[in-house]
Amino acid sequence: MLDLTYETPKIKTIAGAKHDWELVIGMEVHAQVSSNAKLFSGASTQFGSEPNSNVAFVDAAMPGMLPVINEYCIEQAVRTGLGLKAEINLKSAFDRKNYFYPDLPQGYQISQLYHPIVGEGEVLVEMGDGVARMVRIERIHMEQDAGKSIHDMDPNMSFVDLNRTGVCLMEIVSRPDIRGPEEAAAYIVKLRQILRYLGTCDGNMQNGNLRADVNVSICRPGQYEKYQETQDFGHLGTRCEIKNMNSMRFIQQAIEVEARRQIAIVEGGGTVDQETRLYDPDKGETRSMRSKEEAHDYRYFPDPDLLPLEIEQAWVDDIAANLPELPDAKKSRFIADFGLTDYDASVLTADVESAAYFEDVAKGRSGKLAANWVINELFGRLKKEDHDITDSPVSPAQLGGIIDLIASDAISGKIAKDLFEIVYTEGGDPSDIVEARGMKQVTDTGAIEAALDEIIAANPAQVEKAKVNPKLAGWFVGQVMKATGGKANPKAVNQLVAQKLGQ
């Protein structure tokens, strides 16, 4: 595999009133596992159903109910760990995290504090231009998602829907290796990409299937290096957690805003309190979620309704052997095999469907040409209609057909664009359309010459002007194109015009 090398990104600094400051960011990403049923019950994980219609008695925490684990969720967690190059813990266990909230029917969340299923891993976060940050993963564990509380349907009451309660989440915890808002967003983009490639999470942030708790602290230049040496968090500032972020844009804004808030406090002689905060995009500020008195004591203890989980190495090996090609590997391969630029390869491998589409088109064709058409023409057109690659009305075969016609000189580049538009809006086989509508390029130099001779004969004044000013030759080219209904091969026209005008 092509080994791509990267430079680490430049450290971002924020200028406070008195000093320069750096940021230290860690992220806990909650990714909803793609599965049919929930982690500990047989209810559906489908989004958008009627309230409380995807709820088993277990999810509603009725008296006497007990959890039974969904094996596929375990598999998805293992798959994710393998995709993030992480250690898989063959022995793990479940703990109860106890707190009271109406969308948490049991009064506890089943999670994995002491013995998570996945250990240390890493994610390479490309920032473009040969720059990338390696972000270490500390651990991944499985846990139950909570339900949803709606607070704005009634002035005095909140409404609780337990459909989401019990859906399997993976909590992916990074080490504080991220050093700025752009890096944070890029990390989410990369993580999301890997999860979607693996098929373990659909990454739909709008639906809340992927959300992040962002831990932000500030430090003076030089302090982070001290922390790296000693692993002593004392060299870093107090961190605050901004919860439930599900927008890339807002994550960046929130980090910026929070860092400045902390800088202002510290430069003002105060201390930052460790707390949980929420980002308010309308006000452009973070605010504290819970009062200082109510420090959460989750009283974690091993869940006595579940035995420790032991998985077999052979099972893990089987999952590993069947992992799909991951983004980094696919990108390297595209660069090596198709001669693409880093940028183009990144764009094409952003999601697995686009990559598959591209590979289909590029099979037996010029990779560069295929990349150009997929990225510039197809993606551009799809974006106009707010379509996905999966909604593309142009199939890889059709696009490939258009490219073939260009490559064989049957049509010009310009005609190809018209052809593309026709195929996009009306469908059909490209060569059939070209035949039917006479779109073939006129390469017969005789016919072109004839047309050109006519124009020269009819415009002696222009000819004289053109002989003096060569730039005016373009007028003749345009006239020939008009006369041939745009079908003349532009290369041939240019050559003939130059020849005839003696240039």
């Binding site: 047989g42 684990i69 409404f159």
Partner: protein, 95 residues
Amino acid sequence: MSIDQSTAAKVAKLARIKVEDDALPALASEFNTILGFIEQLNEVDVEGVEPMTSVTPQRLKRREDVVNDGSQQEKVLANAPDAREGFFAVPKVVE
């Protein structure tokens, strides 16, 4: 380890059980009696002993990823003190 009234009050809060102020002394006293009884455990040498996690160890049973439950909104809400429009209604929660 002795429990004073403020600790008793904190525990009640954590357990979400309202205990009137005048009941706190008695509660703290009861706690102390029980904890005093439990103190005996400190006599035991537990060096190198694993905490028991499962009484009868066996392979944790797994389920298949099939939807075979749910679709019973009525039953889920049947015993609710206040159900409205398919939701459980509770006094407003302030974040």
